[in-house]
Amino acid sequence: MMDGSALPTTRSTCPYCGVGCGVLLSPDGAGGLTVRGDPEHPANGGKLCSKGSNLDETVGDALNQGYRLRTPRVHGAAASWDTALDLVADRFRETIDRHGPDACAFYVSGQLLTEDYYVANKLIKGFIGTANIDTNSRLCMASTVAGHKRAFGTDTVPGTYEDLDEADLVVLVGSNLAWCHPILHQRVLAAQQRRGTKIIVIDPRRTASCDGADMHLKLAPGSDVALFNRLLARIASDDAVDSAYQRHTAGLSAAIEAARADDARVTGLSEAEIEAFCDLWIGTPRVVTVFSQGVNQSTSGADKVNAILNCHLATGRIGTPGAGPFSVTGQPNAMGGREVGGLANMLACHLDIENADHRAAVQAHWNAPRMPEAQGLKAVDMFRAVGEGRIKALWIIHTNPAVSMPEAAAVRAAIAGCDFVVVSDITGRTDTARFAHVLLPAAAWAEKDGTVTNSDRTISRQRTVMPPFAGAKADWEILAEVGRRMGWVDAFSYAGPGEIFREHAVLSGIAGRLGKDFDISGLAGLSDEAYDRLAPTRWPVTAARQGGRFFADGGFFQADGKAELLPVTWRPPAERRAPRYPLRLNTGRIRDQWHTMTRTALSARLSAHLAEPFLDLHPEDAQRYAISASDLVEVKSPTGQAILRARITEDVSPGQVFAPMHWTGDTAPSGRIDDLVAGHVDPVSGQPESKAAVVSVARYAAAWYGFAVSRARPVPDSEYWALARTTAGFRLELAGSDAHGDWEARARVMFDLPDAAVTSVTDRARGMVRLAFHARGRLEAALFIAAEPVAVMRDYLASRVGQDPKGILLGRATEDLPDPGPVLCSCFGVGVKAIMRAVDADALSTVDAVGRALKAGTNCGSCRPEIAALLAAAKTPQTAN
């Protein structure tokens, strides 16, 4: 968080979520980077969340040393780019010749830039000749795409972020906006301050987004359709239907009829809660319904989306300032991927794969030898086909399906058994990269050049501020190289991303003429210089219009120009709870990590907030299953198992548990949550039901628990471990059910410290061993073993690595070296205890006062609810006295 204002600065876009915040990057010339929010970017106006603020910790040495791929690798051995690319081209060519194009598949990612994505889609659909390209957006956005298409005729986000500033009511459905899209949440909270915007959260779980909300509806998992059907029925019975607007819609009566037939009691909410929600929604014309993974990741995800869209269409509350349904995406370029058609059921520029005219138009534009006539395999089906040997050549780009797909263990087996697997990534350390026959080093964020589209259709540039590391190449370049080596030289001879962008823009103009929404033909004539300078631009961009909202006056993209209200009916989640699996597992994200942590785990500040995988369970369930706080819990489902740390909280309801989804084989192998999730998908969108697995829980019978800190990366060998970065090295939680053995010998192997001096503390009767390894008077590593969850001051210990080892084995701070406590504010690295000391010493009583004293909470603001909770807890005993 240095002030980089003196350094040369380049505008770019944050690589994390779909908010798409503008950043100002100032390279220090030594591989480091100062990152600040771009005050001129319309998404964030200069603000950044904890993840964006700490991007500086994820570049340069932190990213490159020991982590980045330096050269292509073929069968594990370093190889030249020529060798690797020729092999990829030969094997795909051979697979097409022997088994047909449908034996090939690409599995790509919302982290690809639009230009990369465009080339990938063009290569596989137009030249290899199969629609088997799918993306991790399938796990994220597919239900929204399906819902949008069913209602609007195309995948259009009608509104803009300004609607969040101008709404009188914001409803968050299945969205922990405070943690997953913090900058948007800050905009909503600012509107609350400024204009009294009301906030309703609809989520089975109490989240940070509930702090400051006016209402939290803790509905039963997967019951959203029933709730919004009730709302639609009330809209009808209250005469709240906007009759004038209905000339732009079709299907209202059938939708209302289906809604009335549904039963809102399945939500588990009281009639009073439901009525209060309906009253507020119906009574507030400026209402934005924000929805995210809680809606999408469901076997009824598309229906949930349509149930929400129905309400906005029925009331005409769409496309006007402060009103509309609003999907917020999880990935930086999920929207760009949708635009180029990087999904198995799309073509390009929102054109339809089943439409012969559309196919012909795209084929002509690409001058492509072939074009698939049917949809390809969506993610879950794709990996099943891999497992069944139907797909024989698979290219995975910038995503980690070996942990992020449902039934991840089966996915790992499928990839391991595939004839030919290519992985493009920045690192070879992902769970997926381990299975690659060919591993290709890709350029990383800040090295790459291209565009991304955020959740409100704003196209922003990601710009190069540092050269690609070692032998890394841009993804479009790698894909184009393979295209040329497969014989399609003209189609893949791009001079740079600007040329690809122009080709894409021209195609979008063709799509526009075919009646589609995504038309950026106004940018088709951009020179390379103008492309370099391109300021954030909301699509569409045509001669006729630029940006703005959609559908205030109809203009839908169905054949008849009308929107479709769909009759939808609640369905329960696919997996049923049963005595063997009595609990419903919800999954999600935490504040300071992103996806499978391949970048955020490099940041010590981000890793400090919640440094191990956990399971939230209600006190009643904890009692029922004899689980105490900080115990480890063995979680089993029909598809897999995990070991997680127990957090006992009333945030979840009885019978429901929650686990975050970030941990991997590299950070916590037993915490891979998608091993537990069955591969049931939405019948329309193909999106897996990631938030409604069924599980059993039992206390993990640990014979010992451990905590360790170390300077170098340790190589743990236990049944449970979770590794996190610290400023000085690493911290590690451990546990095992095996016999103790010789801890000193075991630790020397784990830390690779065969000769370091050791100090030890042993209480054999209690199973307690503590070891500190030091060299030249500096602490190299320390291991704390106990029969119970280890009680030591972890953050303090982490701060002692590389320091004088004296007193370390006490495991706690002393008066002259106070404990900062767990980091609460990740932007400024301020710990809980530091805040509490300041609160006590200076009698601070407000979150703002804490901010003035310690800066905590003054950047992204996402820790402000937690600071408020600390202040509330601090006040309670004082009043009692």
Binding site: A757, T759, R766, V792, R794
Partner: protein, 406 residues
């Protein structure tokens, strides 16, 4: 006034006199001492030997002090016998009648009766004269110490500090086996060796060789260690001769009850010459307890001497070791260990149930007194178990048990 005669001016007798003077006890006191001086702090002989202090600085009671307090002294005069019937103590220079008598004759160093043990240059380590003999050795001369206990090692270290080349010959396989466990003893051995002291463990002495004076110690394995001085520090025996000859009950020491009374109600015994409930005494702490109890008895107050756990500190600069209580392994006992081989620090605390019963510390003995208090008070330490090894300044505080914040 009641006549009180005290035989011996060791540290226990010195402490007894302090108590009696402080309480203005109504006694007419006569003090005999075979050594031609009053009380000095015998524990400090090793620092004197090591050159860290001087004899003058360790004297606690001199002629002037006795004069001030009206105590008659017969210093440098041996007592020849006690006439219990007549209640008279006979000194070399004449008799002194008593109403009450305190025998505080201390102990005699034990000399192993090896061939040659009576050669000049073969000495115990007991008093100032022994110390002065050791101090007289010039640098580069050679000395052998038989006995790797507390006293022997202090003698060895003191001489080594003066540049004498010292070999310690010890029968057992680790040093100070009565106070240290093997681990602590190994650390101590390394530290002593680092100062140039040679240490032979499991070494059986066979004979002391020399014509007119000690020249070498021969071991049973045939090794021969040349030396200019041989110090035997293998233990002490209570000095009971006067008491035996007076017909008092004597076992290994002079038998006393909880009031320090011997089998003769007018005669008391104090210090290393006593045997109380079957136990002998060699460390100063219980002797001070005896002095307190005996003062109470003589003052006509209820009194009782209770044996308590013992603590030992080795007075060798740079070899900080501390041992207290009972550290033998036994059923129901649990150990807490701290070990820093490179730093030369070792701690072993022995728990029995919820109580601390023993402590062995090498290297950083700052918390020794605190452990000793816990051992003596028998306090419940179960709540301190997690931090006990790290000393007293650590009140229990709630600590996180996993890596999930707040």
């Amino acid at each position: 006034m009641t006549r009180l005669v005290i035989i011996g001016a060791g540290m226990a007798a010195g402490r007894l006199l302090e108590h009696l003077m402080a309480e203005a006890a109504p006694y007419d006191i006569t003090l005999f001492n075979a050594e031609p001086r009053g009380t000095y702090n015998r524990l400090m002989l090793s620092p004197v030997l090591a050159g860290e202090t001087t004899y003058e600085k360790i004297v606690t009671h001199d002629e002037a002090w006795y004069a001030t307090h009206g105590i008659t002294t017969r210093l440098g005069e041996r007592v020849t016998h006690i006439d219990r019937k007549a209640r008279i103590v006979h000194g070399e220079n004449g008799p002194v009648p008593y109403d009450r008598l305190v025998i505080a004759t201390g102990s005699m160093p034990f000399m192993i009766p090896l061939p040659g043990h009576d050669l000049p240059g073969v000495i115990p380590y007991r008093d100032l004269e022994d110390t002065e003999q050791m101090m007289a050795l010039s640098p580069g001369r050679e000395a052998v110490v038989i006995g790797g206990g507390l006293l022997g090692l202090e003698a060895a270290a003191g001489m080594a500090a003066r540049g004498v080349r010292v070999t310690v010959v010890h029968l057992m396989d680790h040093l100070m086996e009565r106070q240290l466990d093997a681990e602590a003893a190994a650390l101590l051995k390394s530290s002593l060796e680092a100062r140039g002291i040679r240490i032979l463990l499991g070494a059986h002495s066979e004979a002391i060789e020399g014509q007119d004076r000690v020249e070498a110690l021969r071991l049973k394995d045939g090794r021969c260690i040349p030396c200019d001085l041989l110090c035997m520090a293998v233990g002490i025996r209570p000095a009971t001769q006067l008491a035996s000859e007076a017909g008092l009950d004597v076992a290994r020491g002079i038998v006393v009850d909880d009031h320090l009374r011997t089998s003769d109600p007018s005669i008391f015994a104090l210090g290393e010459c006593t045997e109380h409930r079957g136990a002998l005494f060699g460390l100063v702490a219980p002797l001070y307890d005896q002095a307190r109890a005996l003062a109470d008895t003589l003052l006509g107050r209820p009194s009782a001497f209770v044996q308590r756990s013992l603590a030992t500190k080795l007075k060798v600069t740079g070899c900080d070791l501390f041992s207290a209580g009972d550290f033998a392994e036994a059923d129901g006992r649990e150990d807490l260990l701290f070990h820093d081989r490179a730093g030369g620090t070792y701690k072993r605390l022995i728990l029995e149930g919820d109580r601390l019963v023993g402590a062995v510390i090498y290297g950083d003995t700052a918390d020794g007194a605190w452990y000793f208090d816990l051992i003596q008070s028998g306090a419940d330490v179960s709540g301190l178990r997690a931090t006990l090894l790290f000393g007293p300044a650590h009140e229990p505080v709630p600590m996180p048990r996993c890596s999930l914040a707040a």
